[in-house]
């Protein structure tokens, strides 16, 4: 498709995607704390309240369980709510609504119910916000049947994946790394919806596969540049959705390169990296020349102070080191 390209930030892409869906379908509403006139605490939603009014861009009380629950009920009865969880950490207050209600109502009702609910939640450390405002909890949702889980890494992917989330008849968790809101990317003027379960090979390469999620795709790119100088060719694969997971693309790439490094910002242990590694092992066992390296956040609550916080998140150096050790 050759629609002209333009520059847009990740945060602008989120807003544009929401606005587009709200214009398209009046059953789409947005609910959350300070999503209204304030335009969210991250200020990325400024303008939606003006355009769509307080009946469709709704400021809720500080009551995550309650308003996510309302979202479930509204979705069950004909609306297509988008619910905003300001910091992904606060998902912990709404897990019952997400997991015991939203995810299971369709199955428990034998297919009668549909729950077209999109839950936007931020993720990611890096803002010196400490342990209760920095977690990346996409692993929890990915483990629960009935939920789809999106972890976009670029503005263009946001523009393509968000409509898919809103139009999906199932509950979707859409994770936005808040450190990326200001990151710019290019995107076509109009973006077609991107189907879930299709990984994106964001850079082709032959020596090692870097499987990276969300903002870690940027880290992977930085590492790939550095490694290129050393003659090492990295393929970067972005699964884009954890559920459904495009196992084939991951396996194909790892089978081709024989080496894989996984980079995700959730805590390393029992994180999504373990699943990604497992499916690659299962599919590419005979082609792997070395054990897969899993890079994740340190298994510690995110510390406040900058030097420590920085040390807990996988960075370019970590990736470069991992790749060199693996290939060396």
């Amino acid at each position: 498709m050759s629609s002209p390209e333009r520059e847009i930030t990740f945060g602008e892409a989120v807003k544009e995607a929401i606005a587009t869906e709200m214009r398209r379908d009046e059953l789409v509403i947005l609910m959350g704390e300070d999503v209204g006139a304030a335009g969210s605490v991250f200020k990325i939603l400024l303008g939606l309240h003006e355009e769509f009014g307080p009946d469709r861009v709704i400021d809720t009380p500080i009551a995550e369980a309650g308003y996510v629950g309302l979202g479930v009920g509204a979705a069950l009865t004909g609306m297509r709510p988008i619910v905003d969880i300001m910091f992904g950490d606060f998902m912990a207050l709404a897990m019952d609504q997400i997991v015991n209600q939203a995810a299971k109502l369709r199955y428990m009702s034998g297919g009668q119910a549909t729950v077209p609910l999109t839950i936007r939640a931020t993720m990611g450390a890096g803002r010196s916000s400490a342990a209760q405002h920095s977690q990346s909890l996409h692993a929890w949702a990915s483990h629960i049947p009935g939920l789809k889980v999106v972890v976009p890494s670029t503005p263009a992917d946001v523009l393509g994946l968000f409509p898919t989330a809103v139009r999906d008849d199932n509950p979707v968790l859409f994770f936005e790394d808040k450190m990326m809101y200001a990151v710019k990317g290019t995107a076509p003027e109009t973006v077609d919806p991107i189907p879930f379960g299709v990984a994106d090979v964001k850079r082709e390469g032959s020596d090692v596969t870097l499987i990276a999620t969300s903002s870690m795709v940027l880290v992977a790119f930085a590492a790939a540049e550095t490694l290129a100088d050393d003659g090492i060719s990295c393929e970067i694969v972005d699964p884009r959705t954890m559920v459904p997971l495009d196992t084939d693309t991951l396996v194909q790439s790892a089978s081709k390169t024989g080496h894989a490094v996984i980079i995700d910002e959730g805590c390393r242990s029992f994180g999504v990296g373990a699943e990604l590694a497992s499916v690659v092992y299962e599919g590419a066992f005979d082609y792997l020349d070395a054990p897969i390296v899993r890079l994740g956040a340190m298994d510690v609550p995110v510390p406040f102070t900058k030097p420590l916080e920085d040390a807990t998140i996988p960075n370019e150096t970590d990736v470069v080191r991992a790749v060199k050790e693996m290939l060396g």
Binding site: L27, I29, D55, R56, T60, P61, A63, A65, G66, Y67, V68, G69, L70, G71, V72, G73, A74, A75, L76, T77, G78, M79, P81, D96, Q97, N100, Q101, L105, R106, Y107, M108, S109, G110, G111, Q112, A113, T114, P145, G146, K148, D168, D169, N170
Partner: protein
């Protein structure tokens, strides 16, 4: 209330009673897996409230959900088949007693999470308001559920947004084996609506007429845009917490007898006869209900379980 309405109400209370008695039978007979929570003794609440609703109104139910489903028009065959885990059940056997739903009748589901209906019912009310359908949502919940925080979260929200939702508390004096008083502060559960400016009342939940009238007023108000209300219905479960619990031990014989004497069905029947309805008519209803329920058991017991492949269906739409 005209005679037809009275008879319908009588019939629906009886349908619940007999259906539940059959559940106990299939349980003790080893025909069902798992457990079920019987509603016997509380029929006036479900029927009183649901008889005030339109077909397209919504209800959310609880783990003790058969009564609400019957009262809102649920089909007994499909209910019984569900309880027995058969593919002909409402949920193709995948939900069981605690998850019976009929979306076509606005029955948004029984729920295994105590307090699980609060968010859903209030969200359905928001949806009705936004879609301008003048539907009303009723949220049934227990005294035990009234201690869950989300109850207060949704009351606050329903109040500020004037949502068309009626919260109906079935105060049957116990949550499982624990007396309500021992874990529930304050005088009444109805009081819990007051700080949010939500009108509320505590009523005799065994008097189906009072329940009906109170609910009808609340529903009418909600439909007119007057916002939420809370109705606390004082009642009692005659049986144990679930089919496997004899229901004694933690409740005195005296207390149980006192509530037996206030049985919502026998008292209503006596009243109808007093009011001039022919006892034979009522006997006829009894017989018909008995048959309907027996048919439900028979058809359910004869129905197949779902194929094992169905395990993976319906995870996603």
């Amino acid at each position: 209330m005209n005679d037809e309405t009275k008879k319908t109400i009588y019939r629906n209370m009886l349908r619940i009673r007999r259906f539940e008695e059959q559940i106990f039978e299939v349980y003790t007979g080893g025909l069902m897996h798992g457990l079920a929570h019987l509603y016997i003794g509380e029929e006036a609440v479900a029927v009183g409230v649901c008889s005030a609703l339109r077909d397209d109104d919504y209800i959310t139910s609880t783990h003790r959900g058969h009564g609400h489903c019957v009262a809102k028009g649920g089909n007994l065959d499909q209910m019984m088949a569900e309880v027995l885990g058969r593919v002909t059940g409402y949920c193709r056997g995948k939900g069981g007693s605690m998850h019976i739903a009929d979306m076509s009748l606005g029955i948004l589901g029984a729920n295994g999470i105590v307090g699980g209906g609060f968010g859903i019912a209030t969200g359905a009310a928001l949806s009705a308001k936004l879609r301008k359908t003048d539907q009303v949502a009723v949220c049934f919940f227990g005294d035990g559920a009234s201690n869950q925080g989300v109850f207060f979260e949704v009351m606050n929200t329903a109040s500020i947004w004037d949502l068309p939702v009626v919260y109906v508390c079935e105060n049957n004096q116990y949550g499982e084996y624990t007396a309500t008083d021992s874990v529930t502060a304050g005088d009444t559960i109805a009081d819990r609506a007051k700080p949010f400016g939500i009108p509320s009342s505590t009523i005799d939940g065994n008097d189906v007429v009072i329940v009906h009238e109170t609910a009808a007023a609340a529903v009418a108000g909600a439909r007119e845009g007057k916002g939420p209300t809370l109705i606390e219905c004082m009642t009692y479960r005659h049986r144990g917490h679930h089919v496997g619990d004899p229901g004694d031990g933690y409740r005195s014989e005296e207390e149980r007898q006192a509530w037996q004497d206030k049985d919502p069905i026998t008292t209503f029947r006596a009243r109808l006869v007093d009011e001039g309805i022919d006892a034979e008519d009522l006997d006829g209803i009894d017989a018909a209900v008995q048959e309907e329920v027996a048919d439900a058991v028979e058809s359910a017991a004869g129905a197949p379980y779902p194929d094992v492949e169905e395990a993976t269906h319906h995870v996603f739409a």
